[in-house]
């Protein structure tokens, strides 16, 4: 009845360039590859003595974290600073917008200060879409995590890490393990891996931590970790929030660890050249054995390093796309 445009198209300007970065879903393989290529160039630069480029000089980036974060917030801040932007960090730790000022008012206030980019983390799924579509469409919006929906920069830094170690995505079998139900990271990883052409994407979790019909996203579901890990090239672990134990989703941490924790023993089932990833912060002895987290297959710190490069890439690309769009709009007036 309603002719619906792909809602993820609002990420692109009329020339097809990125102007917001809200989700990995609906972006083309070329676009994801461009993000990875751009990030690669920043990886090299970040290893230099002078770690700064003037791409965002004179631009104001506001980090709006409505939900607590350490590594995502700090890597976004570093990324913006290495692009020479002026950065304002706001930690607005309210559980809901009903307390005091609404999300809309906060954003419009920031827009009135002539901000050029918002990096937003919010506990509500769809918050970044809402801001980009309804509140401040002319400010580039970067989604730093919205509810259970998407965490696209995390997914892209994971893709970058995989590409650095595996080269191509096509031959890969990737397993995502743990709390899929509550995970925005898993959803963004799944969309990115599919678009980039991974052979098989597996999710491994007990049924209580699997969203309904997750297979419709193009994944194979395993509830048995031993079967699920067989011959995989990449193991992507997810963080398990402690409060899940209280909500009758799981009996105990120790039982979860015995069934779904990544141990040296289980890791032997994977491909000999497999790598292990985790978005952090890790719960040692709950999701992952310490020796695995610190072992040779672990990419956990590499992921953090890549996080800065990927965030620099999407920030510079989205700012470019916004500027192009606004110039085009001015010229047509």
């Amino acid at each position: 009845m309603f002719v619906q445009q792909d809602p993820n198209l609002i990420q692109l300007n009329s020339a097809g360039q990125l102007k917001h970065f809200l989700t990995t879903e609906g972006l083309s393989r070329e676009m994801l590859t461009e993000i990875l290529d751009t990030a690669d160039s920043f990886v090299d630069m970040n290893a230099q003595q002078v770690k700064k480029v003037p791409l965002l000089r004179g631009k104001t980036v506001v980090n709006l974290f409505f939900e607590a974060s350490t590594r995502t917030a700090s890597t976004f801040e570093l990324a913006a600073k290495r692009l020479s932007a002026d950065v304002l960090n706001l930690n607005i730790k309210t559980s809901s917008t009903s307390k005091g000022e609404t999300l809309k008012d906060t954003l419009m206030t920031m827009e009135a200060m002539h901000s050029d980019m918002f990096v937003v983390r919010h506990s509500d799924s769809g918050a970044a879409h809402y801001i980009a579509r309804d509140v401040t469409p002319h400010v580039a919006v970067i989604n730093a995590g919205d509810g259970r929906h998407a965490h696209p920069t995390q997914a892209m830094l994971d893709m970058l890490t995989i590409r650095q170690h595996k080269g191509a995505f096509e031959p890969l079998t990737v397993a995502i393990v743990g709390d899929i139900l509550h995970s925005r990271v898993a959803r963004s990883q799944i969309h990115a891996l599919r678009t980039l052409g991974a052979t098989e994407i597996r999710v491994i979790a007990p049924t209580t931590l699997l969203p309904r019909h997750i297979e419709a996203l193009g994944v194979t579901v395993f509830t048995d970790m031993q079967q699920g890990l067989k011959d995989v090239d990449v193991v992507m672990m997810l963080r398990l929030q402690k409060e899940r134990m209280q909500s009758a989703l799981l009996p105990s941490e120790s039982e979860f660890y015995s069934r779904y924790g990544l141990t040296e023993e289980k890791l032997k089932l994977t491909h000999p050249d497999s790598i292990v990833m985790h978005p952090g912060p890790i719960n040692r002895g709950v999701e992952i054995e310490t020796s695995v987290a610190d072992g040779p297959k672990s990419m956990i710190l590499k992921q953090v390093t890549n996080g800065i490069a990927v965030r620099m890439a999407v920030m510079s690309m989205a700012m470019g796309g916004q500027i192009t769009e606004q110039q085009a709009a001015r010229e047509s007036e």
Binding site: S98, S125, D134, R184, R187, R212
Partner: protein, 426 residues
């Protein structure tokens, strides 16, 4: 003063009497005086030319939140009954979700006074089944019914204790009062904002599974059977729920059901894109559920279509999807949206009008929703083919929260009469 009105040359459809005829209708003293031939000595003060128009009994909406008292930022009885009149609705049932909650005769009297002052539509308040809808103490149902409550509901507030629920039903049965369920298991639905399925998984929203509704329908039906109370199930969204109620009716239980029009037209896939106008509770369900509901429409599995009208102020929908308030405004689009079911050749026009007139009247066991001579002259005269759009400029409801805003619709109400008086015309 009421006028003598002659409605000439219309296609008169009165589902209660199986009537579908090109004829004239005469109104006198606020009542239907005659069909076809004018009564002896009838002199029309006003003639309405209904050529090419449908003349139907005024529509009856079994669920419309008018927001007053307590939430006048969302709508008032005056604004929302004006919207009803513009939508051809002459009678509407209002859930007890006011502030204070409609569990005392004082609140019921206030609602009735305000409705009378506005004079746009007949408002039939539902009383709270339990005090403050807390699911603990019985409300004074008998006294409330004497004040005019048409039935009793706990809305979607839980009655956790089945023992308390049994007592509510027994007490209602004692006085032969109608109990209305809007079934939803509070635990299974907790935190949920949409139907729990593929779209929900993709969007990362919290889901409301079908079982949140079907389990509560099953529990209520078993207790209806035990107590013998007369019960109605409002705004069912799942195919399975309707089947259970239909089966129970076939077993001899006094149970009826209605479906909100949006659940007959839309599905959960419409939520794709996080548009808060599709944030509804009960949620839009799967294509299979919608197909099941539409099949039940054809096979007479439920008695009425309602709007489940829930107007909101703008700010209530200006937030990320899950943080917005659920519900859509629907009085002004109920007829046009129901006409889509006819345009889609699912049912005939008289069958559709039955779900908006005689059907809901039978649920409430009231003498309305018909053009039988002697009954109240509540009439809706509309052009089923004329196109229109609901816009910010022409809307009467205080709420603009509907996905059908600025959407091409067919079916324009030309005249609405309540007790023989014109309450709307265009």
């Amino acid at each position: 003063m009421t006028l003598n009105i002659a409605i000439k040359n219309g296609r008169v459809i009165d589902p209660a009497n199986n009537l579908d005829l090109l004829t004239d209708l005469y109104i006198s003293d606020g009542k239907i005086a005659a069909l076809g031939q004018a009564p002896d000595g009838f002199v029309a003060d006003q003639n309405i030319d209904a050529c090419n128009l449908i003349v139907s009994p005024g529509l009856i909406d079994l669920c419309a939140n008018l927001r007053e008292p307590g939430y006048s930022r969302k709508g008032t009885i005056a604004s929302e009954t004006a919207a009803a009149a513009a939508g051809g609705i002459t009678t509407l049932c209002m859930p007890p979700l006011t502030k204070p909650i409609a569990d005392t005769t004082a609140v019921i009297d206030l609602i009735e006074d305000l409705a009378k002052q506005a004079g746009n539509a007949r408002v039939l308040p539902m009383g709270a089944l339990t005090q403050a809808l807390k699911g603990e103490q019985l409300s004074p149902m008998y006294g409330l019914s004497q004040s005019g409550c048409i039935g009793f509901t706990n809305a979607r507030q839980p009655i956790h204790s089945s023992l308390t629920l049994v007592r509510c039903l027994e007490y209602a049965a004692t006085h032969d009062l109608l109990v209305i369920f809007q079934p939803m298991d509070a635990d299974l639905a907790a935190g949920g904002t949409m139907h729990d399925d593929i779209t929900c998984t993709r969007l990362g929203l919290s889901g409301i599974p079908e079982s949140a509704e079907t389990i509560e329908v099953a529990r209520c039906l078993l207790l209806v059977e035990q107590t013998g109370v007369k019960a109605h199930f409002g705004q069912l969204s799942c195919e399975r729920s309707v089947k259970m109620v239909t089966d129970a009716r076939h077993r001899g239980l006094r149970v009826t059901a209605d479906i909100a029009i949006q659940n007959l037209l839309l599905t959960d896939e419409n939520v794709n894109g996080f548009d808060p106008n599709f944030h509804l509770i009960p949620p839009l369900r799967s294509q299979l559920d919608r197909a099941g509901l539409r099949h039940a429409l054809v096979s007479d599995g439920f008695q009425a279509i309602c709007s489940d009208h829930q107007p909101h102020e703008l700010a209530a929908k200006q937030a990320p999807f899950a943080a917005t308030e659920p519900g859509m405004t629907g009085l002004e689009t109920l007829l046009s949206l129901s006409l889509m079911l006819v345009q889609q050749e699912l049912i005939s026009l008289p069958q559709m009008l039955a779900k908006l007139t005689s059907g809901p009247a039978s649920v409430l066991n009231i003498d309305l929703g018909t053009l039988t001579p002697g009954s109240s002259a509540d009439i809706c005269i509309f052009d089923p083919q004329q196109e229109w759009m609901l816009t910010d400029e022409n809307r009467r409801s205080a709420g603009a929260n509907t996905p059908f805003m600025n959407f091409p619709l067919k079916g324009v109400v030309r005249y609405t009469l309540l007790n023989g008086a014109l309450v709307f015309q265009q």
